[in-house]
């Protein structure tokens, strides 16, 4: 079983059909035992309520200890980072390109993009343990290499305690500011982080991302 298949199915058993993204995320939720269980995260939503129209599903992931959430609608696939072929004359945050079932997709190291510590280095195999979130807009598809995928989060815009990002110069999360629309404070508890709603479409249409269209 190749890595390329893995990102699609994420399943250890090739006999079973590819599980849905939701199943996959549920499994990732279970696997992320080092972190607080999703049930402990605010505001947890019973599965039955998922279909309710006022809830927007988000995918949460960690980037240098910053908890980010992007809308599920902009996500195509989630999986282990496939082998990446570096290309010359690209900024360091573009790790290179990968073959996803015959389609060539570029891989962006989101840590490096924002100049955060501990960027992935494809040559040292550091991406091996990191996850890739394949995002898209009508113009492009990009694999975002993140630290860890944390599972689904259902945002109820009416009920959530949405605040504007409080970051100051010097804080790591400050680098992400242009793309953080709102934050949601954690519920009371020892191991909780601010949840940052991340503007992935803004990222994809940012000048840095679209700089590779012509000479």
């Amino acid at each position: 079983m190749t890595d390329a298949e893995e990102i699609r199915t994420g399943a250890p058993d090739p006999e079973t059909p590819a599980p849905s993204l939701r199943d996959l995320i549920a499994r990732i939720d279970q696997e992320s035992e080092a972190l607080p269980k999703p049930e402990a995260e605010p505001p947890s939503v019973p599965p039955a309520a998922e279909e309710a129209s006022h809830l927007t599903p988000y995918i949460r992931f960690l980037l240098a200890d910053i908890l980010l959430a992007i809308p599920l609608t902009s996500v195509l696939e989630i999986g282990a980072t496939p082998p990446v072929t570096p290309l010359p004359n690209l900024p360091a945050w573009v790790l290179g390109v990968s073959n996803l079932r015959g389609e060539i997709v570029s891989m962006v190291d989101l840590r490096a993009f924002f100049g955060l510590e501990g960027s992935a280095d494809p040559r040292r195999g550091a991406t091996a343990r990191r996850m890739t979130v394949l995002v898209h807009n009508p113009e492009m598809k990009v694999g975002l290499v993140v630290d860890r995928v944390m599972g689904l989060y259902h945002l109820d815009r009416a009920g959530a305690n949405l605040q504007s990002p409080p970051y100051r110069e010097g804080e790591p999360a400050h680098a992400l500011l242009p793309f953080i629309t709102e934050v949601i404070p954690p519920p009371a508890g020892p191991e909780s982080r601010l949840l940052n709603l991340f503007d992935v479409s803004g990222l994809l249409s940012s000048p840095r991302m679209t700089a590779f269209t012509s000479e």
Binding site: T85, L87, P88, N89, N99, I104, F212, E215
Partner: protein, 992 residues
């Protein structure tokens, strides 16, 4: 309404039936009048018979059976079994009416076939005196349905009424001489009410008699093949006319090669004339005929040919193309005026005495050659009528096939890798066999030695085994223990394994052979598939030339369009998409780029501007350049427009290169008023968009006063590329194999150079690039190069430069399928794409020109000084002879350089103050100030001392030569000179 092909057949057939009706009616009338002879009857019988047979063939059974009734009656009439009574005539007349009804209503509405047949049968039964008159319904053939209609017909109305018989149309007689003249005489536009217009579209419409005739002569298939054929001939004409245009700059005698060109054009015109006559494009045929007259005259009688004549011919070709491509939009009146011009040319520009006389007198002169007799026409129709042996296939289907071929290649390369695994396994097996054999041998030896060493022990064993052979000593009779047998079977197994191994090796080499064959076939297949879609640029050049001609005519500018690389091939679809942007660029160049002649002259430029379109294949890209020698981009105006539109926070600091990019912005224009032809900027965004759709790029470089160049790069995606795979720092890269000229090893002592490393390979000294420095600037890969060891070097040639590239190792040659670098990274400098290997790995394909030597020498670097790299030398010609000045100036301008002239040394000194030339060509003997005096004066001025001077003189004496060199001349050329050597010398002296 779209029609199926069978529908077309029926449509054509109905039209045929129509043509039989009038003679039938005449025949019946003759019969009534008693003037019919056997021939009339026979003729009528033949036609009715045809209707019967053909109707059955095309599936109109009702009509067939109706015709059968009439055929029987006619037969009986001919045999004398029936008399030509009034009743019979009436019955036949009514039957012909029924034919007519079929013609009028079959396709659109349908006819009540069974009723009509019953009526017909009743009619004839009555004539024959049979009773009952009405036929038994059971007698009606089952094939005839009660309602019969064409595929597109409406549901049956209650009672279809029989249409009256309109006057049957005559077959078009467009080839008749009498019909050719309307073009000359007509003050109306002849196309308007002529049938061929209908032929230009798919014939359709409810049973309209007018259209039947075109349906007969021009089916859509025929039209399509006519258009294909016409396109070919028009291109051929365009090619020869372009040749004439560039060769005939003033009135020249008709030389044999000019005559040959004229003949070639005449051949195309002649063919077009014939074809358009056949297809029913009478005005085109007529116009072509006139044009052919002129060409005949040019080829056979004309003493000289003038540029004006060529211009008239070019106009005519353009008009003809228009007439054929878009009859509705073509300016038909132009045909008339051009025809007038033809005559003027032939008559030596004298007004013809009388127009009508003239055409009458002229045409009979060569009827066998130009006029089409009915026989000829029939013969021609026979030639053309069967559809050409071509097949129209949709692009989608082609794409599918090309993609499949690409997939096959990928699949085969996966197989390749499996084959490698297979060899490895076979080799393993061989090793295992060897090990097994060794073990068996060792056991055997060991056992025997042991046996000898312990004879006693063995005897004991043997004694236990069988006491029968006790009289034999051990050495006299071998005794086999269990162990012996095991060793033996082990040996046998070794042999078995060996045999299997040999067998497998055999299978492997057979596989390998077959696989190689398959690879060859595959690459052949891929190649052919590619070629199916490829067309050369020459397929669009005539349109481009016409665009420039039209614009220059409208603006009153003299513009020469030079097209280079017309043979460069691209996907047909790509040409289709790129034609509009190219036309736009050319129009822009002609409208805005090129200055009016007066301004050009005042600037010292040749009044006739040059616009150059060059196509070149570079790596896996096709590069199209549109260069003009006009004013260049108006940077101050662009800056002002940028400021006005607020497109930049600080327009004042923008470089020229940055400013140039703004012309691609949507809606950006420096002109307040947009001219009819183009407004620079308006549409440039669309041009860029179109090119980006093709994954191409466009760049502009411009130098004030010297011109503008647009460079369009179109990647050859889809293409399978023969490539060389090599490794650098443990990673694999690919380069197009055609760019690799040599693979060699060089030892370090051949490498030298301080700032820029160079390497000597054979006789050549080439710049040396270490691939690892470019592919991995961070140095994470670690180079495979070792100090002091020889280096593996690829000698590459790309973008017109040769260089040596150091790599670590070679992986091999592969046929690879080029893919883009994804939707995010549409362009990566130095990378022209990637390919996916059989194991799913991604290998980048390098654009060596861009990656290695593009950084320092890339002409695309938007440095204006680079633009000068394209020879735009300014050369001063100093000579007292006006003809020498002209000849040299022309030679210089033909190189794309600029020439300035001075009559003597004094004038030359003034000229160099106006513009510093890059080189001076100097005569010795001149009035006022001779060449030597000028040379001394020049060399005395520090600002001009460095300008190289070439003496051009008829003085051959060594004395003159040494004097010139002692004064500082750089070259000495004796008239008459060899042009190429002369150019070489200029290049050498002005080179870096």
């Amino acid at each position: 309404m779209p029609r199926s092909s069978s529908d077309e057949i029926i449509h054509g057939y109905i039209a045929e039936v129509r043509t039989y009706i009038p003679p039938l009616i005449q025949g019946i009338a003759a019969l009534r009048a008693g003037s019919a002879d056997g021939g009339t009857l026979e003729e009528a019988h033949r036609m009715v018979h045809t209707i019967k047979g053909a109707s059955a063939m095309v599936g109109i059974h009702g009509l067939s059976h109706i015709a059968l009734q009439m055929e029987d009656a006619l037969e009986d009439l001919m045999n004398g079994d029936l008399s030509p009574s009034e009743d019979l005539c009436a019955a036949m007349s009514r039957t012909v009416d029924r034919f007519q009804r079929y013609c009028d209503h079959f396709q659109e509405r349908g006819v009540s076939a069974r009723d009509l047949l019953a009526e017909t049968m009743a009619d004839f039964r009555k004539v024959r005196g049979l009773f009952p008159e009405a036929p038994d319904p059971a007698d009606l053939p089952d094939q005839v349905p009660s309602w019969e209609a064409g595929a597109g017909a409406a549901p049956p109305p209650d009672a279809p009424d029989a249409g009256s018989i309109p006057e049957a149309p005559e077959p078009p007689e467009e080839t008749d001489e009498a019909d050719l003249s309307p073009l000359l005489e007509a003050d109306r536009e002849p196309w308007d009410d002529e049938a061929p217009e209908a032929a230009a579209e798919a014939p359709e419409g409810p049973g309209d008699g007018e259209e039947a005739e075109t349906a007969e002569t021009a089916s859509p298939e025929l039209l399509a093949s006519f258009h294909d054929e016409a396109e070919e001939h028009l291109q051929e004409m365009g090619r020869h006319l372009d040749g004439l245009e560039s060769r005939i700059e003033e009135t020249t005698p008709v030389t044999p090669d000019l005559r040959e060109a004229v003949n070639q054009i005449r051949r195309s015109v002649h063919t077009l004339k014939g074809a358009s006559a056949v297809i029913g494009f009478a005005p085109v045929a007529s116009f072509a005929h006139r044009m052919e007259d002129l060409l005949d005259w040019l080829s056979e009688e004309a003493p000289r040919i003038s540029p004006e004549t060529v211009a008239v011919l070019i106009d005519s070709a353009d008009l003809m193309e228009r007439m054929i491509a878009g009859p509705r939009t073509a300016r038909w009146s132009r045909a008339e005026s051009l025809t007038e011009e033809f005559r003027e040319i032939i008559d030596g520009r004298e007004e013809p005495a009388g127009e009508t006389d003239d055409s009458a007198a002229e045409t009979p002169a060569e009827p066998p050659k130009t006029a089409f007799s009915a026989d000829e026409m029939a013969a021609y129709r026979q030639q053309v009528a069967p559809p050409l042996r071509t097949l129209r296939v949709s692009m989608d289907r082609m794409d599918e096939l090309v993609n499949l071929a690409g997939e096959l290649i990928i699949a085969t390369s996966a197989f390749d890798q499996q084959m490698e695994t297979f060899t490895a396994a076979v080799r393993e097996l061989e090793l295992a066999r060897d090990r097994l054999r060794d073990i068996a041998r060792e056991m055997e030896m060991g056992f025997e030695v042991k046996a000898l060493a312990h004879l006693d022990g063995r005897r004991a064993v043997a004694a236990g085994g069988g006491a029968v052979y006790e009289e034999f000593d051990d050495l006299e009779l071998d005794r086999y223990s269990e162990l012996n047998r095991i060793i033996r079977s082990l040996n046998e197994s070794v042999i078995d394994v060996g045999a299997i191994n040999t067998h497998l090796s055999g299978i492997y080499s057979e596989f390998d052979g077959r696989l190689t064959r398959q690879r060859v076939l595959l690459s052949e297949l891929q190649d052919r598939m590619m070629r199916v879609r490829m067309t050369p640029m020459s397929t669009i050049t005539s349109r481009l030339r016409r665009t420039v001609r039209e614009v220059s005519a409208r603006l009153g500018k003299r513009i020469r369009l030079i097209i280079e690389g017309a043979e460069i091939e691209l996907d047909r679809m790509v040409w289709d998409k790129i034609t509009d942007p190219l036309m736009h660029l050319l129009r822009n160049a002609a409208d805005h780029g090129v200055e009016p002649a007066e301004i050009r002259e005042s600037l010292g430029k040749p009044p006739s501007a040059t616009v150059r379109l060059s196509a070149r294949r570079e790596g896996n890209q096709v590069v199209l350049r549109v260069t003009d020698d006009g004013a260049g981009l108006d940077y101050p105006a662009i800056r002002a427009a940028v400021r006005q539109a607020g497109l930049s926070p600080d327009p004042g600091t923008l470089s020229e290169a940055e400013l140039a990019e703004f012309i691609f912005q949507p809606g950006f224009s420096t002109r307040g008023r947009i001219s009819e032809i183009s407004g620079r900027g308006v549409g440039m965004d669309v041009v860029k968009e179109n090119i980006q759709d093709l994954k191409g790029t466009i760049r502009v470089v411009s130098r004030q006063g010297q011109g503008t160049r647009f460079t369009v790069r179109i990647p050859l995606t889809m293409a399978a590329l023969r490539s060389l795979l090599f490794s650098v720092g443990g990673r694999t890269f690919a380069v197009p194999l055609n760019e690799i000229k040599e693979i060699t090893r060089v030892s370090p002592e051949n490498i030298s150079g301080r700032t820029r490393e160079v390497v000597r390979i054979g006789e050549e000294v080439l710049p040396l690039y270490h691939a690892v420095e470019y592919l991995d600037p961070q140095g994470g890969l670690g180079s495979g190069e070792e100090a002091g060891a020889s280096l593996l070097v690829l000698v590459a040639e790309s973008g017109g430069r040769r260089a040596a590239v150091v790599v670590d190792g070679l992986v091999g040659q592969r046929e690879i399928v080029v893919k883009g670098t994804g939707s995010h990274l549409r362009y990566v400098r130095g990378i022209s794409g990637v390919t996916i290997m059989g194991d799913g790995g991604v290998v980048p394909i390098l654009n060596m020109e861009e990656l290695f030597w593009g950084r320092e020498a890339g002409e695309e670097v938007a440095d204006p000084s680079d633009f000068a790299g394209e020879p735009s030398l300014s050369i001063l010609v100093v000579d007292d002879s006006v003809s020498i000045r002209q000849v040299i100036s022309r030679l210089v301008e033909n190189q794309g350089w600029r020439a300035a002239a001075a009559r003597d040394g004094m004038e030359a000194l003034e000229r160099i103050r106006e513009e510093r030339p890059d080189l001076i060509i100097l005569d010795i003997e001149m009035p006022r100030m001779n060449g030597y005096e000028f040379l001394s004066a020049l060399k005395a001025q520090p600002a001009y001392r460095e300008i190289p001077v070439v003496m051009l003189t008829s003085r051959t004496a060594e004395k003159h030569r040494s004097r010139a060199f002692s004064l500082g001349a750089s070259g000495f050329v004796v008239k008459p000179y060899n042009e190429e050597e002369f150019i070489e010398l200029v290049l050498k002296l002005t080179g870096p």
